[in-house]
Protein backbone atom coordinates (compact mmCIF):
# COMPACT_ATOMS: atom_id res chain seq x y z
CA UNK A 1 0.00 0.00 0.00
CA UNK A 2 2.80 2.38 0.89
CA UNK A 3 4.43 4.26 -1.93
CA UNK A 4 7.30 5.08 0.33
CA UNK A 5 10.38 4.12 -1.62
CA UNK A 6 13.02 6.73 -0.96
CA UNK A 7 14.07 7.52 2.60
CA UNK A 8 14.56 11.15 1.57
CA UNK A 9 10.99 11.57 0.36
CA UNK A 10 9.12 14.38 2.06
CA UNK A 11 5.74 12.70 1.63
CA UNK A 12 4.33 9.39 2.68
CA UNK A 13 1.64 9.32 0.00
CA UNK A 14 2.50 12.17 -2.40
CA UNK A 15 -0.35 11.45 -4.79
CA UNK A 16 -2.93 11.98 -2.01
CA UNK A 17 -1.10 14.65 -0.06
CA UNK A 18 -0.65 16.94 -3.06
CA UNK A 19 -4.02 16.35 -4.67
CA UNK A 20 -5.49 19.56 -6.16
CA UNK A 21 -8.13 21.12 -3.88
CA UNK A 22 -11.04 20.43 -6.22
CA UNK A 23 -10.03 16.77 -6.35
CA UNK A 24 -9.85 16.67 -2.52
CA UNK A 25 -13.36 18.15 -2.32
CA UNK A 26 -14.67 15.66 -4.86
CA UNK A 27 -13.10 12.75 -3.00
CA UNK A 28 -14.52 14.05 0.28
CA UNK A 29 -18.02 14.28 -1.15
CA UNK A 30 -17.86 10.79 -2.60
CA UNK A 31 -16.63 9.33 0.72
CA UNK A 32 -18.97 11.45 2.82
CA UNK A 33 -22.01 10.14 0.96
CA UNK A 34 -20.85 6.56 1.50
CA UNK A 35 -20.13 7.19 5.17
CA UNK A 36 -23.54 8.76 5.76
CA UNK A 37 -25.31 5.87 4.02
CA UNK A 38 -23.23 3.43 6.05
CA UNK A 39 -24.10 5.04 9.40
CA UNK A 40 -27.77 5.44 8.45
CA UNK A 41 -28.13 1.83 7.38
CA UNK A 42 -26.27 0.28 10.29
CA UNK A 43 -26.58 2.48 13.37
CA UNK A 44 -30.07 2.89 14.87
CA UNK A 45 -29.06 6.04 16.73
CA UNK A 46 -28.19 7.79 13.46
CA UNK A 47 -31.32 6.58 11.72
CA UNK A 48 -33.45 8.06 14.49
CA UNK A 49 -31.49 11.31 14.52
CA UNK A 50 -31.93 11.64 10.74
CA UNK A 51 -35.66 10.97 11.05
CA UNK A 52 -36.01 13.58 13.76
CA UNK A 53 -34.43 16.15 11.48
CA UNK A 54 -36.45 14.86 8.51
CA UNK A 55 -33.32 14.26 6.49
CA UNK A 56 -32.32 11.26 4.37
CA UNK A 57 -28.84 10.24 3.21
CA UNK A 58 -29.77 11.06 -0.41
CA UNK A 59 -30.48 14.70 0.60
CA UNK A 60 -26.74 15.22 0.92
CA UNK A 61 -25.68 16.23 -2.57
CA UNK A 62 -22.86 18.62 -1.77
CA UNK A 63 -20.38 19.12 1.06
CA UNK A 64 -22.41 22.17 2.11
CA UNK A 65 -25.44 19.95 2.63
CA UNK A 66 -23.62 18.36 5.56
CA UNK A 67 -25.11 21.06 7.75
CA UNK A 68 -28.50 19.35 7.38
CA UNK A 69 -27.14 16.45 9.43
CA UNK A 70 -27.33 16.16 13.20
CA UNK A 71 -24.23 16.77 15.28
CA UNK A 72 -22.70 14.05 17.42
CA UNK A 73 -21.27 15.12 20.73
CA UNK A 74 -19.67 13.39 23.66
CA UNK A 75 -23.02 12.78 25.31
CA UNK A 76 -24.09 10.59 22.36
CA UNK A 77 -21.09 8.35 22.88
CA UNK A 78 -21.81 8.26 26.60
CA UNK A 79 -25.49 7.42 26.09
CA UNK A 80 -24.73 4.63 23.62
CA UNK A 81 -21.85 3.20 25.71
CA UNK A 82 -20.27 0.83 25.00
CA UNK A 83 -21.31 -0.53 21.59
CA UNK A 84 -24.36 1.50 20.58
CA UNK A 85 -22.66 3.21 17.64
CA UNK A 86 -20.89 0.09 16.38
CA UNK A 87 -21.80 -0.49 12.73
CA UNK A 88 -20.33 -3.94 12.13
CA UNK A 89 -20.88 -7.33 13.80
CA UNK A 90 -18.92 -7.42 17.07
CA UNK A 91 -16.95 -10.45 15.80
CA UNK A 92 -15.39 -8.14 13.26
CA UNK A 93 -14.07 -5.75 15.94
CA UNK A 94 -10.37 -6.23 16.63
CA UNK A 95 -9.62 -3.36 18.99
CA UNK A 96 -11.26 -1.14 21.59
CA UNK A 97 -9.96 2.15 22.88
CA UNK A 98 -11.41 4.53 25.44
CA UNK A 99 -10.89 8.11 26.41
CA UNK A 100 -10.04 8.98 29.98
CA UNK A 101 -13.42 9.85 31.40
CA UNK A 102 -12.90 12.15 34.37
CA UNK A 103 -16.42 11.43 35.55
CA UNK A 104 -18.52 8.33 35.08
CA UNK A 105 -18.10 5.91 32.19
CA UNK A 106 -15.33 6.35 29.64
CA UNK A 107 -16.07 6.98 25.97
CA UNK A 108 -15.43 3.71 24.15
CA UNK A 109 -14.63 3.34 20.46
CA UNK A 110 -14.12 0.25 18.27
CA UNK A 111 -12.02 -0.58 15.21
CA UNK A 112 -12.01 -3.36 12.63
CA UNK A 113 -8.99 -4.35 10.51
CA UNK A 114 -9.87 -1.82 7.83
CA UNK A 115 -10.02 1.01 10.39
CA UNK A 116 -6.63 0.09 11.84
CA UNK A 117 -5.11 0.15 8.34
CA UNK A 118 -6.42 3.65 7.71
CA UNK A 119 -5.31 4.77 11.15
CA UNK A 120 -1.71 3.60 10.62
CA UNK A 121 -1.68 5.30 7.25
CA UNK A 122 -2.83 8.60 8.79
CA UNK A 123 -0.21 8.39 11.54
CA UNK A 124 2.57 7.42 9.10
CA UNK A 125 1.70 10.53 7.11
CA UNK A 126 1.88 12.90 10.06
CA UNK A 127 5.15 11.32 11.23
CA UNK A 128 6.68 12.01 7.81
CA UNK A 129 5.30 15.56 7.95
CA UNK A 130 7.19 16.04 11.21
CA UNK A 131 10.43 14.93 9.56
CA UNK A 132 10.47 11.28 10.59
CA UNK A 133 11.83 8.83 7.97
CA UNK A 134 11.90 5.04 7.83
CA UNK A 135 15.52 5.27 8.99
CA UNK A 136 14.44 6.76 12.32
CA UNK A 137 14.44 4.85 15.57
CA UNK A 138 11.39 5.82 17.48
CA UNK A 139 11.14 5.55 21.25
CA UNK A 140 7.63 5.33 22.65
CA UNK A 141 6.98 6.93 26.03
CA UNK A 142 3.19 6.80 25.86
CA UNK A 143 1.49 3.98 27.72
CA UNK A 144 0.16 0.99 25.77
CA UNK A 145 -3.37 1.00 27.06
CA UNK A 146 -6.90 2.15 26.29
CA UNK A 147 -5.58 5.59 25.45
CA UNK A 148 -5.22 5.88 21.64
CA UNK A 149 -1.81 7.61 21.76
CA UNK A 150 0.41 4.59 22.42
CA UNK A 151 -0.92 2.03 19.95
CA UNK A 152 -1.93 4.66 17.38
CA UNK A 153 1.54 6.13 17.01
CA UNK A 154 3.21 2.76 17.43
CA UNK A 155 1.53 1.15 14.44
CA UNK A 156 1.78 4.30 12.34
CA UNK A 157 5.55 4.50 12.81
CA UNK A 158 5.91 0.76 12.26
CA UNK A 159 3.88 1.10 9.04
CA UNK A 160 6.30 3.81 7.94
CA UNK A 161 9.15 1.39 8.48
CA UNK A 162 10.77 2.94 11.53
CA UNK A 163 12.51 0.90 14.15
CA UNK A 164 10.18 1.31 17.10
CA UNK A 165 11.19 0.82 20.72
CA UNK A 166 7.94 0.13 22.62
CA UNK A 167 9.28 1.30 25.97
CA UNK A 168 5.94 2.57 27.28
CA UNK A 169 5.24 5.13 29.95
CA UNK A 170 7.40 5.77 32.99
CA UNK A 171 10.77 4.43 34.12
CA UNK A 172 12.82 7.47 33.26
CA UNK A 173 16.20 5.83 33.88
CA UNK A 174 15.44 3.08 31.39
CA UNK A 175 14.27 5.62 28.85
CA UNK A 176 17.54 7.50 29.18
CA UNK A 177 19.51 4.28 28.88
CA UNK A 178 17.61 3.24 25.75
CA UNK A 179 18.15 6.59 24.07
CA UNK A 180 21.89 6.08 24.54
CA UNK A 181 22.13 2.34 23.87
CA UNK A 182 19.69 2.06 20.96
CA UNK A 183 20.61 5.49 19.62
CA UNK A 184 16.97 6.41 19.19
CA UNK A 185 16.25 9.49 17.10
CA UNK A 186 12.60 10.32 17.75
CA UNK A 187 10.72 10.49 21.03
CA UNK A 188 6.96 10.09 21.37
CA UNK A 189 5.69 11.52 24.65
CA UNK A 190 3.77 14.30 26.29
CA UNK A 191 5.76 17.56 26.32
CA UNK A 192 5.81 17.54 30.11
CA UNK A 193 7.32 14.06 30.20
CA UNK A 194 9.92 15.17 27.65
CA UNK A 195 10.84 18.00 30.03
CA UNK A 196 11.12 15.49 32.86
CA UNK A 197 13.43 13.31 30.73
CA UNK A 198 15.42 16.39 29.77
CA UNK A 199 16.02 17.35 33.38
CA UNK A 200 16.76 13.80 34.52
CA UNK A 201 19.21 13.40 31.62
CA UNK A 202 20.96 16.65 32.49
CA UNK A 203 21.19 15.60 36.13
CA UNK A 204 22.79 12.29 35.17
CA UNK A 205 25.32 14.00 32.90
CA UNK A 206 23.76 13.13 29.56
CA UNK A 207 24.88 15.54 26.84
CA UNK A 208 21.69 16.17 24.88
CA UNK A 209 23.57 18.01 22.16
CA UNK A 210 25.60 14.92 21.41
CA UNK A 211 22.65 12.53 21.75
CA UNK A 212 21.07 10.78 18.77
CA UNK A 213 17.63 12.22 19.53
CA UNK A 214 16.52 14.74 16.89
CA UNK A 215 12.71 14.85 16.82
CA UNK A 216 10.00 15.05 19.47
CA UNK A 217 6.52 13.92 18.44
CA UNK A 218 4.36 15.35 21.16
CA UNK A 219 0.74 14.93 22.06
CA UNK A 220 -1.67 14.16 24.87
CA UNK A 221 -1.64 17.73 26.19
CA UNK A 222 -1.02 21.15 24.68
CA UNK A 223 2.62 22.19 24.35
CA UNK A 224 2.95 25.90 25.12
CA UNK A 225 5.37 27.92 22.96
CA UNK A 226 7.51 28.50 26.06
CA UNK A 227 7.85 24.81 26.86
CA UNK A 228 8.55 23.96 23.23
CA UNK A 229 11.30 26.56 23.04
CA UNK A 230 12.89 25.28 26.22
CA UNK A 231 12.79 21.66 25.06
CA UNK A 232 14.33 22.58 21.72
CA UNK A 233 17.12 24.58 23.37
CA UNK A 234 17.95 22.06 26.05
CA UNK A 235 17.41 18.73 24.27
CA UNK A 236 18.56 19.89 20.82
CA UNK A 237 15.53 18.40 19.13
CA UNK A 238 12.80 19.67 16.85
CA UNK A 239 9.47 19.54 18.68
CA UNK A 240 6.34 18.85 16.69
CA UNK A 241 2.74 18.51 17.71
CA UNK A 242 0.06 16.35 16.22
CA UNK A 243 -3.65 16.30 16.78
CA UNK A 244 -6.35 13.74 17.08
CA UNK A 245 -9.06 12.53 19.37
CA UNK A 246 -10.33 9.14 20.39
CA UNK A 247 -13.90 9.83 19.31
CA UNK A 248 -12.98 10.17 15.63
CA UNK A 249 -9.97 7.80 15.56
CA UNK A 250 -7.05 8.93 17.73
CA UNK A 251 -3.79 10.66 16.76
CA UNK A 252 -3.37 11.12 13.03
CA UNK A 253 -6.16 13.57 12.29
CA UNK A 254 -3.68 16.35 11.63
CA UNK A 255 0.00 17.11 12.08
CA UNK A 256 2.56 19.87 11.81
CA UNK A 257 4.79 19.91 8.73
CA UNK A 258 8.29 21.33 8.72
CA UNK A 259 7.17 24.49 6.88
CA UNK A 260 4.32 25.75 8.98
CA UNK A 261 4.83 25.73 12.66
CA UNK A 262 1.70 25.90 14.79
CA UNK A 263 -0.43 24.77 11.87
CA UNK A 264 -1.36 21.20 11.20
CA UNK A 265 -2.35 19.60 7.91
CA UNK A 266 -5.63 17.74 8.24
CA UNK A 267 -5.73 14.35 6.49
CA UNK A 268 -8.64 15.58 4.46
CA UNK A 269 -9.18 12.43 2.44
CA UNK A 270 -10.11 10.72 5.72
CA UNK A 271 -11.59 13.61 7.68
CA UNK A 272 -14.14 16.18 6.61
CA UNK A 273 -13.80 19.31 8.71
CA UNK A 274 -16.18 22.12 9.44
CA UNK A 275 -15.71 25.19 11.64
CA UNK A 276 -18.86 26.29 13.40
CA UNK A 277 -19.87 28.96 15.87
CA UNK A 278 -19.64 27.25 19.28
CA UNK A 279 -23.04 28.50 20.41
CA UNK A 280 -25.18 28.55 17.27
CA UNK A 281 -23.54 25.63 15.45
CA UNK A 282 -23.68 27.70 12.25
CA UNK A 283 -20.66 27.61 9.91
CA UNK A 284 -18.18 30.49 10.17
CA UNK A 285 -16.17 31.75 7.20
CA UNK A 286 -12.73 30.44 6.31
CA UNK A 287 -9.88 31.66 8.55
CA UNK A 288 -12.36 32.62 11.26
CA UNK A 289 -12.04 30.95 14.64
CA UNK A 290 -14.70 28.52 15.72
CA UNK A 291 -15.28 25.01 16.94
CA UNK A 292 -13.81 22.16 14.92
CA UNK A 293 -16.38 19.60 13.79
CA UNK A 294 -15.02 16.39 12.29
CA UNK A 295 -16.57 13.63 10.23
CA UNK A 296 -14.28 10.66 9.65
CA UNK A 297 -14.77 9.54 6.03
CA UNK A 298 -13.27 6.07 6.03
CA UNK A 299 -14.48 4.38 9.18
CA UNK A 300 -16.36 1.12 9.18
CA UNK A 301 -16.69 -0.13 12.75
CA UNK A 302 -17.53 3.12 14.50
CA UNK A 303 -18.84 5.81 12.16
CA UNK A 304 -19.26 9.23 13.74
CA UNK A 305 -20.90 12.08 11.85
CA UNK A 306 -20.21 15.73 12.59
CA UNK A 307 -18.43 15.22 15.87
CA UNK A 308 -18.30 18.36 18.02
CA UNK A 309 -14.67 18.37 19.18
CA UNK A 310 -15.06 21.38 21.53
CA UNK A 311 -11.66 22.45 20.23
CA UNK A 312 -11.34 25.99 18.96
CA UNK A 313 -9.25 26.63 15.88
CA UNK A 314 -9.28 28.21 12.45
CA UNK A 315 -8.56 26.50 9.17
CA UNK A 316 -6.84 27.77 6.05
CA UNK A 317 -6.79 26.16 2.60
CA UNK A 318 -3.99 28.45 1.37
CA UNK A 319 -1.14 26.55 -0.29
CA UNK A 320 1.67 25.49 2.06
CA UNK A 321 5.37 25.76 1.25
CA UNK A 322 5.80 22.04 1.89
CA UNK A 323 3.72 21.25 -1.18
CA UNK A 324 0.84 19.59 0.63
CA UNK A 325 -2.56 20.75 -0.51
CA UNK A 326 -4.46 19.57 2.55
CA UNK A 327 -5.96 22.33 4.68
CA UNK A 328 -4.17 23.47 7.81
CA UNK A 329 -5.77 24.00 11.20
CA UNK A 330 -4.13 26.27 13.73
CA UNK A 331 -2.85 24.38 16.74
CA UNK A 332 -5.60 24.04 19.32
CA UNK A 333 -4.93 26.02 22.45
CA UNK A 334 -8.44 26.46 23.75
CA UNK A 335 -11.60 24.46 24.05
CA UNK A 336 -15.15 25.74 24.01
CA UNK A 337 -15.43 24.23 27.49
CA UNK A 338 -12.77 26.68 28.65
CA UNK A 339 -14.57 29.75 27.37
CA UNK A 340 -15.92 32.04 30.08
CA UNK A 341 -18.54 34.66 29.41
CA UNK A 342 -17.93 37.56 31.75
CA UNK A 343 -20.34 40.48 31.55
CA UNK A 344 -21.03 39.41 27.96
CA UNK A 345 -17.37 39.24 26.93
CA UNK A 346 -15.80 35.94 25.87
CA UNK A 347 -12.67 35.26 27.89
CA UNK A 348 -10.30 32.32 27.58
CA UNK A 349 -8.01 31.41 30.44
CA UNK A 350 -5.08 31.19 28.02
CA UNK A 351 -5.45 34.95 27.37
CA UNK A 352 -4.75 35.48 31.05
CA UNK A 353 -1.71 33.27 30.80
CA UNK A 354 -0.47 35.06 27.68
CA UNK A 355 -0.93 38.46 29.34
CA UNK A 356 0.87 37.39 32.51
CA UNK A 357 3.77 36.06 30.44
CA UNK A 358 4.36 39.64 29.30
CA UNK A 359 4.40 41.21 32.76
CA UNK A 360 7.59 41.55 34.77
CA UNK A 361 7.30 40.46 38.40
CA UNK A 362 4.63 37.76 38.13
CA UNK A 363 4.68 34.09 37.14
CA UNK A 364 2.36 32.57 34.52
CA UNK A 365 0.60 30.52 37.21
CA UNK A 366 -2.83 31.87 38.02
CA UNK A 367 -6.31 31.06 39.14
CA UNK A 368 -9.56 32.69 38.16
CA UNK A 369 -12.52 32.97 40.53
CA UNK A 370 -15.89 34.16 39.27
CA UNK A 371 -18.81 35.36 41.34
CA UNK A 372 -21.85 37.58 40.97
CA UNK A 373 -22.67 38.27 44.59
CA UNK A 374 -23.28 41.92 43.78
CA UNK A 375 -25.47 41.07 40.77
CA UNK A 376 -22.69 41.75 38.28
CA UNK A 377 -20.14 39.18 37.14
CA UNK A 378 -16.90 39.71 38.93
CA UNK A 379 -13.64 38.09 37.90
CA UNK A 380 -10.83 37.81 40.39
CA UNK A 381 -7.46 36.69 39.09
CA UNK A 382 -5.00 35.33 41.61
CA UNK A 383 -1.51 36.11 40.41
CA UNK A 384 1.75 34.87 41.85
CA UNK A 385 4.25 37.53 42.74
CA UNK A 386 7.89 36.72 42.01
CA UNK A 387 10.28 37.37 44.95
CA UNK A 388 12.07 40.11 43.02
CA UNK A 389 8.89 42.13 42.59
CA UNK A 390 8.20 42.37 46.32
CA UNK A 391 8.60 45.70 48.00
CA UNK A 392 8.35 46.54 51.70
CA UNK A 393 5.90 49.31 50.83
CA UNK A 394 2.15 48.76 50.63
CA UNK A 395 1.91 51.74 48.33
CA UNK A 396 4.32 50.23 45.83
CA UNK A 397 2.65 46.85 46.08
CA UNK A 398 -0.68 48.42 45.37
CA UNK A 399 0.71 50.25 42.36
CA UNK A 400 2.06 46.98 41.13
CA UNK A 401 -1.30 45.28 41.62
CA UNK A 402 -3.02 48.04 39.66
CA UNK A 403 -0.43 47.74 36.92
CA UNK A 404 -1.16 44.01 36.58
CA UNK A 405 -4.91 44.71 36.56
CA UNK A 406 -4.51 47.32 33.83
CA UNK A 407 -2.50 44.94 31.66
CA UNK A 408 -5.09 42.20 32.13
CA UNK A 409 -7.92 44.54 31.23
CA UNK A 410 -6.07 45.54 28.09
CA UNK A 411 -5.70 41.89 27.08
CA UNK A 412 -9.16 40.64 28.07
CA UNK A 413 -11.33 43.69 27.35
CA UNK A 414 -13.01 43.15 30.70
CA UNK A 415 -11.81 44.30 34.06
CA UNK A 416 -10.59 41.92 36.71
CA UNK A 417 -9.77 42.24 40.37
CA UNK A 418 -6.16 41.20 40.83
CA UNK A 419 -5.11 39.45 44.01
CA UNK A 420 -1.43 39.01 44.55
CA UNK A 421 -0.51 35.69 46.11
CA UNK A 422 2.73 34.26 47.43
CA UNK A 423 5.26 32.80 45.02
CA UNK A 424 4.70 29.07 44.48
CA UNK A 425 1.30 29.08 46.18
CA UNK A 426 -0.73 28.13 43.10
CA UNK A 427 -0.80 24.37 42.59
CA UNK A 428 1.37 23.23 39.67
CA UNK A 429 0.03 20.60 37.33
CA UNK A 430 0.70 19.60 33.77
CA UNK A 431 -1.93 19.22 31.11
CA UNK A 432 -5.46 19.62 32.22
CA UNK A 433 -5.04 22.07 35.07
CA UNK A 434 -8.15 23.54 36.62
CA UNK A 435 -7.67 27.26 36.42
CA UNK A 436 -11.20 28.45 36.98
CA UNK A 437 -13.59 28.37 39.87
CA UNK A 438 -17.00 29.59 38.82
CA UNK A 439 -19.10 30.50 41.85
CA UNK A 440 -21.70 32.49 39.94
CA UNK A 441 -25.31 31.89 40.96
CA UNK A 442 -24.18 29.78 43.87
CA UNK A 443 -24.45 32.33 46.62
Amino acid sequence: MSDFSSSASAFYQPEIETLPREAIRALQLERLKKQIAWAYARVPWYREAFLKRKVKPEDIRSLEDTRLLPFTDKSVLRDTYPFGLVAVPLEEIVRLHASSGTTGKPITVAYNQHDLQIWSECVARIAVMAGVTRADRVQMAFGYNLFTGGFGLHYGCERLGCLIVPAGAGNTERHLMMIQDYQTTALISTPSYAMHLCEAGEASGLDWKASSLRIGLFGGEPCTPGLRHELEQRMHIRCTDNYGLTEVMGPGVSGECLCSRDEQHINEDHFFWEIVHPETGEPVSENEEGELVLTPLSKEAFPVLRYRTRDLTRVTTEPCACGRTHARMRKVRARTDDMLIIRGVNVFPRQVEDALAGIEGVTTHYRIALDNETGLDRMTVMVELTPSAFSDSFEEMDHFRQHVAARLKQALQVSAVVRLVEPGSIARAFGKTRHVEDQRNKA
Binding site: L385, A389, F390, M397, L420, E422, S425
Partner: protein
Protein backbone atom coordinates in the same frame (compact mmCIF):
# COMPACT_ATOMS: atom_id res chain seq x y z
CA UNK B 1 23.45 52.35 63.66
CA UNK B 2 20.37 51.43 61.65
CA UNK B 3 18.95 47.98 62.21
CA UNK B 4 17.99 45.48 59.53
CA UNK B 5 14.34 44.66 59.16
CA UNK B 6 13.21 41.65 57.15
CA UNK B 7 9.83 41.96 55.40
CA UNK B 8 7.88 39.20 53.78
CA UNK B 9 4.82 39.13 51.54
CA UNK B 10 2.05 37.03 53.05
CA UNK B 11 -1.39 36.08 51.90
CA UNK B 12 -3.98 36.86 54.51
CA UNK B 13 -4.67 33.20 55.30
CA UNK B 14 -4.44 31.14 58.48
CA UNK B 15 -1.08 29.42 58.87
CA UNK B 16 0.97 31.61 56.57
CA UNK B 17 2.62 33.61 59.35
CA UNK B 18 3.06 30.48 61.40
CA UNK B 19 4.98 28.82 58.57
CA UNK B 20 7.49 31.68 58.58
CA UNK B 21 7.85 31.67 62.36
CA UNK B 22 8.32 27.91 62.44
CA UNK B 23 11.15 28.25 59.93
CA UNK B 24 12.83 30.90 62.08
CA UNK B 25 12.51 28.67 65.10
CA UNK B 26 13.98 25.70 63.31
CA UNK B 27 16.97 27.78 62.26
CA UNK B 28 17.46 29.15 65.76
CA UNK B 29 16.61 32.69 64.72
CA UNK B 30 15.20 34.85 67.49
CA UNK B 31 12.39 37.25 66.65
CA UNK B 32 12.98 40.39 68.69
CA UNK B 33 10.17 42.42 67.27
CA UNK B 34 7.55 42.16 64.59
CA UNK B 35 4.60 43.82 63.00
CA UNK B 36 2.04 42.39 60.63
CA UNK B 37 -0.24 44.64 58.66
CA UNK B 38 -2.64 43.88 55.88
CA UNK B 39 -4.64 45.25 52.98
CA UNK B 40 -7.43 42.69 53.19
CA UNK B 41 -6.00 40.23 50.68
CA UNK B 42 -2.38 40.19 51.58
CA UNK B 43 -0.12 41.55 54.23
CA UNK B 44 3.46 42.41 54.91
CA UNK B 45 5.04 40.93 58.01
CA UNK B 46 8.11 42.76 59.26
CA UNK B 47 10.65 41.27 61.60
CA UNK B 48 13.56 42.45 63.70
CA UNK B 49 15.78 39.40 64.04
CA UNK B 50 18.92 38.58 65.95
CA UNK B 51 20.35 37.16 62.72
CA UNK B 52 18.75 39.23 59.96
CA UNK B 53 20.91 38.03 57.08
CA UNK B 54 20.30 34.42 57.95
CA UNK B 55 16.62 35.17 58.38
CA UNK B 56 16.43 36.66 54.89
CA UNK B 57 18.18 33.73 53.30
CA UNK B 58 15.92 31.26 55.13
CA UNK B 59 12.89 33.03 53.66
CA UNK B 60 14.41 33.23 50.21
CA UNK B 61 15.23 29.53 50.27
CA UNK B 62 11.61 28.84 51.14
CA UNK B 63 10.70 30.68 47.95
CA UNK B 64 9.10 33.59 49.81
CA UNK B 65 8.93 37.12 48.48
CA UNK B 66 11.11 38.76 51.13
CA UNK B 67 13.33 41.77 51.35
CA UNK B 68 15.46 43.71 53.77
CA UNK B 69 15.11 47.37 54.79
CA UNK B 70 16.69 49.62 57.38
CA UNK B 71 14.88 50.92 60.44
CA UNK B 72 15.90 52.94 63.44
CA UNK B 73 15.45 51.34 66.84
CA UNK B 74 15.26 53.46 69.97
CA UNK B 75 14.88 52.28 73.55
CA UNK B 76 12.34 54.41 75.34
CA UNK B 77 12.06 54.86 79.11
CA UNK B 78 8.73 53.42 80.11
CA UNK B 79 6.91 56.62 81.10
CA UNK B 80 4.49 59.11 79.58
CA UNK B 81 5.63 61.41 76.78
CA UNK B 82 8.60 59.38 75.58
CA UNK B 83 7.05 58.22 72.27
CA UNK B 84 5.77 61.75 71.70
CA UNK B 85 9.26 63.12 72.25
CA UNK B 86 10.84 60.86 69.62
CA UNK B 87 8.13 61.42 67.06
CA UNK B 88 8.21 65.13 67.78
CA UNK B 89 11.87 65.44 66.90
CA UNK B 90 11.34 63.68 63.61
CA UNK B 91 8.19 65.58 62.76
CA UNK B 92 9.80 68.94 63.52
CA UNK B 93 12.48 68.12 60.96
CA UNK B 94 9.79 67.42 58.36
CA UNK B 95 10.63 63.75 58.03
CA UNK B 96 7.75 61.39 57.37
CA UNK B 97 7.38 58.26 59.48
CA UNK B 98 6.12 55.55 57.13
CA UNK B 99 5.41 53.03 59.83
CA UNK B 100 6.56 52.02 63.26
CA UNK B 101 6.07 49.35 65.86
CA UNK B 102 7.51 48.36 69.20
CA UNK B 103 9.88 45.57 70.00
CA UNK B 104 10.65 43.63 73.12
CA UNK B 105 10.51 45.83 76.23
CA UNK B 106 9.90 49.35 75.05
CA UNK B 107 12.06 49.47 72.00
CA UNK B 108 10.32 50.85 68.99
CA UNK B 109 11.26 50.43 65.35
CA UNK B 110 10.36 53.09 62.86
CA UNK B 111 10.78 53.27 59.13
CA UNK B 112 11.24 56.80 57.94
CA UNK B 113 11.76 58.56 54.64
CA UNK B 114 15.23 59.85 55.42
CA UNK B 115 16.90 57.40 57.73
CA UNK B 116 20.32 59.08 57.84
CA UNK B 117 18.93 62.46 58.79
CA UNK B 118 16.50 60.99 61.32
CA UNK B 119 19.24 58.98 62.95
CA UNK B 120 21.43 62.04 63.20
CA UNK B 121 18.59 63.96 64.83
CA UNK B 122 17.82 61.32 67.42
CA UNK B 123 21.45 60.71 68.25
CA UNK B 124 21.75 64.30 69.46
CA UNK B 125 18.82 63.93 71.78
CA UNK B 126 18.59 62.03 75.05
CA UNK B 127 17.24 59.02 73.25
CA UNK B 128 18.88 55.65 73.39
CA UNK B 129 19.26 54.24 69.90
CA UNK B 130 19.71 50.53 69.82
CA UNK B 131 22.26 48.95 67.51
CA UNK B 132 22.09 45.77 65.50
CA UNK B 133 24.66 44.25 67.88
CA UNK B 134 22.41 44.87 70.85
CA UNK B 135 19.46 43.40 68.98
CA UNK B 136 21.55 40.39 68.08
CA UNK B 137 22.89 39.87 71.60
CA UNK B 138 20.89 37.42 73.71
CA UNK B 139 21.99 39.31 76.87
CA UNK B 140 19.98 42.34 75.92
CA UNK B 141 16.87 42.26 78.02
CA UNK B 142 16.72 45.76 79.31
Amino acid sequence: MAVAQISVFLENQPGHLKRILAAFEMEGINVRGFSASDTGDYGIARFILDKPRKGLSVLQNMGCAATSAEVLCARLPDHPGELARVMGIIADAGINVLYGYSLISAIIAIHVENIVQAEELLRHQPIELVTQDEISSPQDNA
